[in-house]
Amino acid sequence: MRPLVVGTEALLLETDSAEEVAALHAELLRRRGELGGVRDIVPAARTVLLDGVADPAALGARIARWEVPAPAASEGPLVRVAVRYDGPDLAEVAALWGVGAQEVPAIVGGIAFRVAFCGFAPGFGYLTGLPARFHLPRRATPRTSVPAGSLALAGEYAGVYPRSSPGGWQLIGTTDAVVWDPAREPAALFAPGVRVRFEEVGA
């Protein structure tokens, strides 16, 4: 893990993998009290940003000495999301995976996803857990409008669109779960560290 100072009050902790980010993020939340005040802890693809810290260089040196344990598979709250596999890209995704479309729900349903980080839009979680053989390219031409609640895949990630927006991910299904509601506590269903299981409606 490499600490990189960002301006006068932030610190970027760089790792080599999504798994290391997950472990480091969990440890930072556990030991938040030792950080001496931090406004934002923002995990991303290979980094965790600590924003609003008093002395980023000293904090970075301190965290670099931490022993960061791998997180237990059962760590983090579990959210079950009901999905209808009715996405317009379902057949294409199945073809890319070399399976029949009817097998996709069982494949996706068998994966233990975890929210690695949020971005793109409020409440849009990037879910990791897809084995490498199921990683997918983005669509060559993004859609101008993807409906809210679309379950989508791209690269190493799965995600659910919190509201209707343009998007280039492959759409395999739909959920009625409200993944983002600023009037609700918590506003985001998919906060970093949350574990997610997709269950087929009626299955």
């Binding site: 301006g7 980094t47 924003d51 009037a183």
Partner: protein
């Protein structure tokens, strides 16, 4: 009847307070007034807490009618202030009678004026803030004529007689102190040196998300490839593939995939950036 009726919304007027810090991990931008110093001063003049919600105008001000007696103050970009057609003070508390019309004129220098009302603008908060976030769409809608803005109870002290004397006006050159990192090593050293001795200009494509630059040398990358998305801070100077630096302002995305050359500290430099009009000269200096 209470509150203020919007008569003329102006080019882009939004409600802004201190925004939504602390929610970046959920994909929520910070938002908030771009010129935090002008917001705090406007609030102080009318006896509000420093982070009460104010109006942020863009270039051509705003006009409001008081539906009940209120005290207001205009700060930020200097401009003509009129009350029912008569000249009134900029940078000082102004009393409006019921029915009086406040006209905040076109910015004479700078870009964004701020209007505080004693008690604060009390539109419904979203995630603890009344700020309009133009990137993610959180918070109240951009002001439009006919909207009534409610007034709250966010005052904490008396109205101050002291005005905005001594507050520096918008500068003729925008100087941005740049602390290199975290991705300065993605760029040619000679190219960074060139950036630090060359003038740029503020691009007309700038907005609350970022101040774009043009007219200066393009940064040359010493390593290709893509940067996996990483957390972005307020004041980050990101360099997209065209090589022209973009300074991230309050509505910036929480993560980004272009390397950050350096960071401009918050406070005065970012307040000055909020007042930078298109075409203004920009200088990056090593900090």
């Amino acid at each position: 009847m209470s509150g203020l009726l919007v008569l003329r919304a102006g080019a882009l007027t939004t409600v802004q307070d201190r925004g939504r810090p602390g929610l970046a991990h959920l994909g929520v931008p910070r938002s908030g007034a771009l010129d935090a110093g002008a917001r705090a001063l406007a609030n102080r003049l009318v006896g509000n807490a420093a982070d009460a919600a104010v109006l942020e105008t863009t270039l051509d001000g705003v006009a409001l009618r008081a539906r009940a007696p209120v005290t207001v103050a205009v700060t930020g970009a200097p401009c003509a202030v009129r009350v029912s057609g008569r000249p009134a003070a900029w940078g000082a508390p102004v009393r409006l009678r019921a029915g009086a019309e406040l006209d905040v004129g076109r910015a004479e220098s700078g870009l964004r004026s701020y209007v505080a009302v004693r008690g604060g603008f009390a539109v419904p908060p979203v995630l603890g803030s009344r700020s309009t976030d133009l990137l993610s769409g959180l918070g109240p809608a951009v002001l439009s004529a006919g909207t009534v803005l409610p007034v709250g109870g966010a005052w904490i002290g008396p109205v101050r007689g002291a005005g905005a004397l001594g507050v520096p006006g918008p500068p003729s050159v925008l100087v941005l102190p740049l602390r290199l990192g975290p991705r300065a090593d993605w760029f040619e050293a000679a190219s960074i040196a060139r950036l630090l001795r060359s003038p740029y200009r503020v691009s007309a494509r700038s907005n609350r998300i970022g101040l774009r630059t043009e007219g200066g040398p393009r940064l040359a990358r010493r390593r290709g490839g893509e940067l996996p998305s990483e957390g972005m801070v307020l004041g980050a100077v990101q360099v997209p593939p065209d090589g022209l630096p973009v300074l991230f302002l309050a509505d910036h995305p929480v993560t980004g995939g272009y390397p950050v050359l350096g960071v401009v500290p918050s406070g005065r430099p970012l307040n000055a950036a909020a007042q930078a009009v298109p075409g203004l000269e920009v200088r990056f200096v090593s900090a």
